[in-house]
């Protein structure tokens, strides 16, 4: 088991003082017109208004298609300012997001894959530019928002997975396994702060060597893909959901320091290099590329949160990171299969080496981020 060096921000004596007014229950202040209507279908993303005044902006998203959708507001470098995941057909949801003046992109992601269907979204009005220190403090708030959105969906998807396992629905459980794990893998460095929970949820068979029971995602994975017999997995599934709930509560109470974000971004790529490229992570299901993509997305989200501070301190590094992330996304993109990914054992050694090369190329500049924002 790897030991992780992440330490809660409070212990480092860092206090984050984020933007105010982004509590989820606050009323929308988008103006007399109410929330901006977003109509998301399987092939289009229509936004009633492409501009707004600075402040809390509210959107009401209706999914008129057949696929599960997502909605994002991105700042430059794909920094997520706000997002809604798991938008089901016919169930409108609202998103409230605090937006300073600037140019953004709104995106729907039908099927929850790819870059999404994007359009420009402009916010005008006066908002004092952040100072250098505020930019760093804002990074932690921004990332906390990301963790919140990911954990919300992690809970929903884990519950669906657990229900399928308990219902004995092998096919459904197999389909949900990599989907639920996606939300887990995106925020794994946060989860790993809580050392005892991580091996219970995500441990592999070798945890037995440390005197622990083999439980969690991978235990159920083994049963699903080797014997197909999950009739005795009900208690393991229940425990998984309990553990995920606990870790989600703890993760949302945590505020990571900018340094932890930088190290987390690097650790996610280490996860890819050591566990996913080799096919060790999902050794029974071979769905490693799902985890691979999720780790990269999580790393990108952490870097995106730091972006305003990083642009000021090391613009060259930002340029390098953008190019390296793009190379990873392009190379990984070759292995899409439908709404998901090819299996690890469907890739040739040459294809795996190509992925390894682009991860190395990205991980080296990412390892410089912590030093740059210090």
């Amino acid at each position: 088991m790897r030991k992780h060096l992440l330490v809660p921000a409070a212990l480092l004596g860092l206090t984050a003082f984020g933007l105010t007014g982004c509590g989820k229950d606050e009323p929308a202040s988008t103006g007399a017109d109410g929330p901006i209507a977003v109509t998301a279908s399987d092939s289009a993303c229509e936004i009633a208004r492409a501009e707004s005044a600075a402040g809390t902006v509210s959107f009401k998203i209706s999914n008129t298609g057949s696929k599960v959708n997502e909605f994002y507001i991105y700042a430059s470098g794909d920094r997520v300012m706000g997002e809604k995941e798991n938008i089901l057909p016919g169930v409108p949801v609202e998103l409230h997001v605090e937006l300073p003046a600037g140019t953004y992109e709104a995106a729907c992601k039908p099927g929850m894959v790819g870059d999404g269907i994007r359009s420009k979204f402009t916010v005008t009005g006066s908002a004092a530019p952040l100072t250098a220190d505020q930019k760093l403090a804002d990074a932690t708030t921004s990332y906390q928002r990301y963790v919140k959105s990911q954990t919300d969906t992690l809970l929903v998807k884990t519950e669906e997975f657990v229900n399928a396992v308990k219902a004995g629905d092998v096919a459904k459980a197999k389909a949900l396994f990599p989907v639920a794990r996606t939300y887990w893998e995106r925020i794994e460095p946060v989860a790993e702060i809580f050392g005892d929970l991580d091996p219970k949820i995500d441990g592999r068979e070798d945890v037995v060597a440390e005197g622990m029971a083999f439980t969690g995602f991978h235990r159920i994975e083994k049963d699903l893909w080797t014997t197909g017999d999950i009739s005795k997995d009900g208690p393991i599934a229940d425990q998984l959901l309990t553990d995920v709930k606990e870790i989600v509560a703890k993760a949302n109470a945590e505020k990571l320091s900018p340094l932890q974000l930088a190290n987390g971004a690097k650790e996610l790529l280490d996860e890819v290099a050591t566990g996913k490229i080799t096919g060790e992570e999902d050794r029974y299901s071979h769905t490693d590329l799902w985890d691979f993509a999720a780790n990269v997305e999580g790393s990108k989200a952490a870097i995106a949160a730091l972006r305003p501070a990083l642009e000021e301190r090391s613009p060259d590094l930002v340029t390098k990171l953008d190019a390296a992330f793009k190379a990873v996304e392009t190379t990984l993109g070759k292995h899409r299969a439908g709404d998901g990914w090819k299996l690890h054992n469907q890739l040739s050694q040459a294809e795996l080496k190509e992925l390894s090369d682009v991860i190395n190329a990205l991980a080296e500049p990412i390892s410089q981020v912590a030093g740059a924002i210090k």
């Binding site: 340094l259 390296a324 190379a327 080496k353 090369d357 682009v358 190395n360 190329a361 990205l362 991980a363 080296e364 390892s367 410089q368 912590a370 030093g371 740059a372 210090k374």
Partner: protein
């Protein structure tokens, strides 16, 4: 000599670095045309000079060889990498850290720009020698990625297929190579590891090879070493002291076809697996007949001493030539190959075992020369056709490289003449 450990204890790393380079240059002035024999195995070898170090430098004990594929498509990126590599090579061969900050002098939050395993170790005779493969100039599909196709020397041609070749493509070819030789394996490995790290995103390691127990001597000051067959290897090698012969057989010139290669040399690398277990069951007499020398002294059969001038017509007890017609020494000897010579610089390797309980071992053959088409290729054709040794060996990898001339000073870099 300023060791890494001493350098670190000096006040400023930058100052220490400059002092170290100056000290090295002073001690080793005149490195270039002639081999610069270091006083001890721990000393440094001059990095700058007319020719690259690591060719006529008396062969060190250890090798770490690496072949890279270039993955960047950007010529400027490639040039920048060569500049960074050259700077790091100059530092490391002088016994310093790979980067300007060093393994332990940076801020706590950033990864060090040197990996640290050579801290406290002396230069250990480290040489770093670069080569460019044919595919750098034009890929197998005919693509000229870096605008170099017109500058490929005719001598840098893919080697032809030889009889009995059992080449593994993944262990053959490559766009760039770096040969690290040192008297301490940790120093050689440290150098390659740090250069590979500097190259992430621009190059990717295609294959690498560790070697030990130099199998050739490249200077008359060195005794002839033995390969894993137990025989002395490289008795008739070109050596640093061979002056005229080096000009004729080792160093490329402008009129040979490529001005940028003047003062450089061509390197052929072949990984030759030995079927050790079968060889070991072969009688002493048969082993000696296959090689054409006796095993103890290394003297040609029918002769008394290792360096005796070989008389290939001398008869043995049965009236037939003492050195059999199909023996290795006869087929490989310059006299049988129009006088061509090679500067061999190979190393033994043992890459563990092969899963069938046999040693995965042999010779990583390396030979420098002026023109492989006239030197390595005809000799290897002759060997591949008739050498009885072939029953005990298997050529598993093959590559040819153009090693440019030496780096003249801190303003110069590896391959500058090729890119400007």
């Amino acid at each position: 000599m300023v060791s890494r450990r001493k350098a670190l204890t000096l006040a400023g790393v930058g100052v220490a670095g400059a002092a170290g380079v100056a000290a090295t240059a002073a001690v080793l002035s005149g490195g270039g045309e002639s081999a610069t024999a270091a006083d001890t195995a721990a000393d440094g070898i001059a990095f700058y000079g007319e020719h690259q170090a690591g060719i006529v430098t008396p062969a060190q004990d250890r090798l770490h060889f690496v072949a890279f594929d270039v993955i960047t498509k950007d010529r400027a990126d490639l040039i920048e990498l060569l500049q960074k590599w050259t700077a790091a090579a100059a530092r490391m061969t002088a016994g310093h850290d790979a980067g300007v900050i060093g393994a332990v002098s940076g801020i706590a939050e950033a990864p060090p720009d040197d990996t640290g395993e050579a801290l406290g170790l002396p230069p250990s005779g480290l040489t770093l020698t670069i080569g460019f493969g044919p595919s750098l100039f034009r890929t197998a599909d005919g693509v000229d990625r870096f605008g170099l196709a017109a500058r490929r020397p005719a001598a840098l041609d893919d080697l032809p297929a030889f009889r009995g070749d059992a080449l593994k493509p993944e262990l053959s070819g490559g766009d760039l190579c770096i040969q690290a030789c040192a008297n301490d394996p940790q120093v050689a490995v440290h150098a390659i590891r740090n250069l590979a790290r500097i190259g992430f995103g621009k190059v990717t390691v295609r294959y690498s090879q560790l070697g030990f127990g130099r199998t050739s001597s490249t200077s008359r000051t060195q005794a002839t070493a033995r390969n894993l067959m137990g025989f002395k290897d490289g008795t008739n090698n070109l050596k640093a002291e061979d002056g005229e012969l080096l000009t004729e057989h080792l160093w490329a010139t402008g009129p040979d076809g490529a001005e940028w290669m003047a003062g450089g040399s061509y390197l052929v690398t072949r990984k030759i697996r030995m079927v050790i277990e079968t060889w070991d069951r072969t009688s002493l007499g048969e082993q000696e007949a296959i090689i054409g020398r006796n095993k103890g002294e290394g003297a040609p059969l029918g002769h008394a001493k290792e360096f005796d001038k070989i008389d290939f017509s001398r008869p043995g007890a049965d009236g037939r030539p003492a050195i059999p017609m199909d023996s290795h020494v006869r087929l490989a000897h310059p006299e049988q190959n129009g006088g061509v010579r090679l500067l061999r610089r190979g190393y033994n390797f043992v890459d563990g075992s092969d899963g069938l309980g046999r040693l995965d071992a042999g010779l990583f053959f390396m030979a420098y020369q002026r023109d492989p088409r006239k030197q390595f290729v005809p000799v290897q054709r002759s060997l591949a056709k008739s050498d009885t040794l072939n029953e005990y060996i298997r050529h598993e990898s093959s590559a040819v490289w153009a090693c440019p001339p030496g780096v003249s000073g801190p303003q110069d870099f590896w391959g500058r003449a090729l890119f400007t």
